[in-house]
Assembly symmetry: C2
DNA sequence: TAAAGAAATGAATGTGCATTCATTTCTTGT
DNA sequence: ACAAGAAATGAATGCACATTCATTTCTTTA
């Protein structure tokens, strides 16, 4: 025998893998998932097309992992904010505001991560991380309820609602082709204000009429 | 000359066009955009593949028009509810609840319309109708502010937030592959409660009340 | 009933990319 | 320095569908 996978090679391999993932991030951040074809990513990573397939089984899985990397990081950031000092309301406001701020500062990438059509694997990953974000927020809402800062409410539904409000608020402005760029701070603040208000309010006594249930 | 496009032919043509659009609706409602290929739609419409292209310039535009048809109808329904009698709060609650209810009752279709990855043309149409929904809601919020039912707030942001909350609340449950089907009524009610609370925002008197005396 | 024009047909074509794989380049132990 | 194995390469392949278009069927007027 005359070859053993040495430590050094192992590292180079890992390194190349990382570079490919980074390249996905870079390319997607520039041309979105739609424009991100494997050959382009490979070129951006300084690697041949075929090499990509020595590290990832398919385009879908590669992209899904790249998304997981980013989303995972954002979840960590949010979780860190959520774990900081202060009232639940303040921490919730910070979590939302910082998420929004970061998204607006990397528009194209954020849009791709949040909303751009992509392979099913990518969509699955998105779902998973949406849930992760929602969990962080849900805990904050529960904290707030426990301390009496927020009224009793279904924290699970509220968390989903906040995530929805957050992404919707971001997608509108983000989807524009780079024009009409609302000031990042302003946008983030407006969204934050809504989110905070949304969980702070005392629940409205459920209205129950039922006309209009047509068809 | 020996041929003139008569009234009857005109009607048959229009009719065929409509049938194709209906077929898109049916197919997408069953297998989603992903599975809806032109040949299948044509078959469902009882028409040859090529015929589709005598009525629509491309798959993307066909599907976008089909989406516009559905979304337009839903906007109308919501607008009708919004224009009915009652307080702004009650009308808002009904608008949201009925939208949610209708969506859950046609899960697959709703998911496709709201969130499934699709051609860029379809995405553009989606954006447009999201704005239409948001406009209806925005007006309700403004009404409520005017009557003092809701506190002063940025109605535009609030409307976007509600749409986001609504769709997010729906997508989670809707994205599941038909399993874990939460009771439609219950889900719709939970989402509605959140949405109403979100804009109602009577500041919660944190210090002076026990958090458990409502619910 | 025939000729002129449209509309419908669906098999064949074209395209855009992901994926493969025969060949080349690099690593390692002797 | 060499042989044995791995890893990298990128041109060639394959595939899934949208789209086309030569042919057929239908409609209309004279």
């Amino acid at each position: 025998m005359a070859y053993r996978r040495t430590e050094r090679v192992e590292e180079q391999l890992q390194d190349k893998r990382d570079r490919i993932l980074q390249a996905v991030r870079a390319v997607v951040g520039e041309v979105g998932f739609r424009g991100a074809q494997v050959a382009i990513v490979a070129e951006a990573a300084g690697v041949a097309t075929g090499t990509v397939y020595r590290h990832f089984p398919s385009k879908g899985e590669l992209f899904a992992e790249a998304l997981a990397l980013n989303a995972g990081h954002e979840v960590d950031v949010m979780a860190a904010v959520a774990a900081s000092e202060g009232t639940a309301a303040a921490r919730l406001a910070d979590a939302v505001r910082i998420f929004a701020l970061r998204a607006v500062l990397a528009r194209r990438l954020a849009w791709a991560m949040i909303a751009e059509p992509a392979d099913p694997e990518v969509d699955a990953a998105r779902l998973k991380y949406r849930r992760a974000f929602a969990d962080v927020i849900q805990r904050l809402v529960e904290d707030g309820i426990a301390t009496g800062e927020f009224p009793a409410q279904n924290a699970r539904v509220a968390a989903a609602g906040l995530i929805g409000a957050l992404t919707e608020g971001l997608i509108g402005p983000l989807a524009q082709d780079a024009e009409a760029p609302p000031d990042a701070e302003t946008l983030a603040r407006a969204i934050t204000a809504f989110c905070l208000q949304a969980v702070s309010a005392r629940p409205y006594p459920a209205a129950t009429r039922s006309p209009h249930d047509e068809e």
